[in-house]
Amino acid sequence: MKPGLSNERSLEHPIIWIAVIAGALGSILLLKAVAWLAFPLILAVVLYYLVQPLLQRLQLAGVTPGQALGIFLGAATILTLIFSVTILPSMLNSLADFQNQIPTYWDRLQGVLRDNLLALEERFSFAKKAGLANSFQEQMNLFLAGAGKEYIADVALFLLHWLPSLLLVPFLTFFFLRDGTAFHRLVLRAVPNAFFEKTLLLFDRMDNQMRAYFRGMFGLTMLDTVSLGLGLWFLGHGTGIFGFWDAMFLGLICAIFAWVPYIGSGLGGILAVATVAVKAPSSSGLMVAVVLLFLGVRLLDEFIYTPMTVGRALRMHPLITVMMIFSGGMLGGVYGLLLAMPLLGIFTVLGQMFAEIWFDPRLRARYQARGLLEKRLASKDLGI
């Protein structure tokens, strides 16, 4: 068999596909178990891929890798200080205002939902028989009396648990940037001679794919944020619902939601509609406009933004994507939802790597020949 053919048939093996899916789901469970470490680690990897091109630009300008890292760290420290002194205090004030208004927003949201359910009861007799509005109110009261408080306590504990671990992010990113190449070489030392060139090539492919994915996702998030933010601002600034920065912030949250394929965009849309419902309960036309805005941005995403940024690097069959997201969500909660697709992408490349190397008979023959040479050498030394 020609070596080049192995690439085409590498993912045809069913065992490889089963192993890829099992590996991705197993990793979700593992990462959930060590979430305090996994979360900063993933953020550090994302930052590494975002910062690396900046360092390369600096090196192009003639500085050494060490100097480039120093310049970047200096600039990052100065920017952080400026941010802490100028923008952070006003952000904290806005957050405090928002926190004070949460009960009002919550009451308004309940009111809007209750009004809509009552309208539904008026129009449909089955809804009236079921007593939708009353049972909804009962469920909400029950939630607030018991489970809601527990959830809030859980969320507070969760935040307290992982926020300190975020301090690890700059630390890890620094060492990834400084020692990434040396670590890469250390890992490669363990690869047998027969598989060395192929492994190097596949590592390079995986590195490129991850870089393209993270940079693409960053670009896509920025484009989504700007599109949604401008759209929401355009729709809401006349009626005083959204200021510019409020709209941009909501756009950013919705764009982050969209990291979860298919489901995320819908959740973001619901969040934006709920925000409009809370801030202007009587303007149903505006809610329809927000829904249309989300549909429009979804189409832009599908046909222009995604091909421009993430491309088709991690495109999977929609059925596999949805199954993976639901399985990930079931096994790992929010982590699972967010990580299912990137992990599936990584395990697919790893599966390809393994299959291309292991199912190449020439490489395996060379590996076995090396084993025989070692055995012969050992026998000779021992005089057997």
């Binding site: 070489r185 020949a369 050498l377």
Partner: protein, 172 residues
């Protein structure tokens, strides 16, 4: 006089201002035709992308027909390049310490044109094409020197073949 400013102390003080001795591996690499024009800083940058590999006598380094992904510099030992003939394999010659082979792979992922086998226990430094390309993008001056080095090596080989001299063992 052996006081504070004695000769040995003065020499020690001077040594603080002289660069530390070059890594022995880099000394060998600096003698390879492709990297002969690289200065010390460039060689140090290159060092991060050198992979040291050890081959036992009789072990294949790469195989004729497989996709080439990088070139090698022999640090220690001896290798032989063979090409498949109609009836039997044809030996292209021996590659000694300080020589390089497989440079064609730096130009593109074409198939290897010969099989290289270690004749004795051998240590080589492997350089991988995508890593060298990334390094050349980050340091275009170094990239230019390497590209020129590869071009000159291939030019001299072509000239030898055209002049009817023996085919070069490292033209792999």
């Amino acid at each position: 006089m052996c006081g504070l400013w004695g000769e040995s102390n003065f020499m020690n003080l001077l040594s603080l201002f002289s660069p530390p001795p070059m890594d022995p591996l880099l000394q060998i690499v600096s003698g390879v035709a492709i990297f002969r024009d690289c200065n010390r800083a460039e060689l140090e940058a290159l060092k991060l992308h050198l992979h040291e590999r050890h081959f036992l006598a009789g072990e294949i380094v790469f195989d004729e027909g497989e996709d080439g992904e990088g070139m090698y510099v022999v640090i220690r030992g001896k290798l032989r390049a063979n090409r498949k003939g109609v009836l039997s394999k044809k030996s292209l010659g021996v590659i000694q310490a300080g020589e390089s082979f497989g440079e064609m792979a730096l130009l593109g992922a074409g198939p290897r044109m010969a099989t290289v086998v270690a004749e004795e226990d051998t240590t080589v430094l492997a350089m991988f094409r995508p890593e060298l390309v990334a390094l050349a993008q980050a340091r275009p001056r170094l990239g230019y020197k390497i590209a020129m080095g590869v071009a000159l090596v291939l030019e001299s080989r072509l000239r030898r073949v055209a002049e009817g001299q023996s085919s070069e063992p490292s033209a792999t």
